[in-house]
Symmetry: C2
Subunit: 251 residues, 2 copies
């Protein structure tokens, strides 16, 4: 069964270049393993209308939607009320989360800003946060995670067992030095035509020390087809004068 | 003057997790410097309809649109014909580029796959590629760059002098250890309310060795407002018992 997912990174820090993203690759790999591959990613600012519209659009188009960022206590943390708006439900205190956070912070430090983190869209299920307590949540097919990578990963692993898995994606890679993509393109396209269910990719590499070459990847849900395509890729690299080595090229 | 840009990363390797993105932060920082800040990023697969629709939507919504990836010689390199389709123009041999590439590869090696790299949307202007010759191009407000970071950066610097600049974005940051966001949220929101033209951000940090704290950033095009907000942030951190230090927290 083919399942799909999309990811929305919410916040200005990636768009401004302040922060280098450290969430995409983790989620891309884990979702591939779970058979719910990522098909689209958006990075958007913390603007109410943009968040509401993006969540509304993507939750209709993909089986699962993940968001990261914007669930802390500050004025720019507006993901949670925006997701409530996208689902047309109230954004309200979630009593068990309120109690959890009040115990954590102590009553005298549990100020209005921190109380915002106890509000969830009505009907949402919290996702436990083993690092810093304040939870993410799931509502419908939308999963709202923290933006801080360590917290996001912990939340994702709490969530993963509850996700409906799809067929896992298999992948095999051959690389060779010295050859260029342009010499392999026709042969690779012929292999792609034989295996229309697979995704064949060609990734040139150029190292600082002058080593260069190309990696060819066959990927798909039919392991037999992936193995046959990998053999054909090996034979193509040989035929064109390369020295095929299985796996990714060394850095 | 407020100018805006969007970025489209085209290709399956980021979505599958094979490759960690190394283009977003460079472009985010350079476009901020040029006063054309990034307002949205999309990562999409190399599917014709998706590319055409995404380019069509974003070029109408933003002043400048940049794409990376999908301009090599292989069957999955379909960015260039898709951009032609989005503009409703033919995709055809660009004679000066054909000559350039034929000289580079030699007539006998200039096979049909490589000849694809000499095709541009009708009316496009090539962007020189000082690394590996095959050019990117500009058509209207869409700028098509390579996906390999070293080549992308070189193309961007060829392009940058031709872009219409906006007002540059100024930014000042204070950080402190020990304090948490939740203690600062109300005070920060009050500063945001005083400077609605600025973008104030709050970024908690948690280091492996247990150091934690928060960085507060004031950003905007009015340098006077940025400086006043930075002073107010400093005073807030002091008042709440922090030890404010200017700049980003050490790693």
């Amino acid at each position: 069964m083919r399942r799909t997912s999309a990811l929305i990174l919410i916040g200005n820090e990636i768009l401004s270049g302040r922060t280098r993203d450290d969430n995409i690759q983790f989620l891309a790999l884990r979702l591939g393993e779970l058979g719910i591959p990522l098909v689209e990613i958006r990075v958007i600012p913390d603007i109410r209308e943009t968040i509401v519209n993006t969540v509304t659009e993507l939750r209709a188009r993909f089986d699962e939607v993940f968001t990261t960022g914007g669930i802390g206590p500050t004025h720019d943390d507006i993901t949670s009320p925006c997701v409530a708006e996208a689902f047309g439900v109230p954004w309200e205190i979630h009593p068990p989360t309120f109690t959890l956070l009040e115990d954590r912070f102590g009553r005298e430090n549990f100020n209005p800003a921190r109380q915002r983190m106890a509000k969830l869209p009505k009907g949402a299920t919290p996702i436990a946060n083993p690092v810093s307590i304040a939870p993410g949540f799931t509502i419908g097919n939308v999963h709202v995670l923290a933006g801080v990578p360590r917290i996001m990963r912990a939340m994702f692993e709490e969530l993963a067992p509850t996700l409906q898995k799809g067929a896992p994606v298999f992948s095999r890679t051959w690389h060779t030095t010295s050859l260029y993509e342009g010499a392999l393109a026709d042969g690779l396209e012929a292999i792609q035509d034989r295996f229309p269910d697979l995704d064949l990719g060609s990734y040139p590499f150029h190292r600082e020390d002058g080593r260069h070459g190309v990696a060819l990847v066959a990927k798909g849900q039919d392991v037999q087809h992936v193995n046959e395509a990998a053999q054909a890729i090996h034979d193509l690299l040989k035929e064109k004068g390369g020295s095929p080595v299985e796996g990714e090229p060394p850095v």
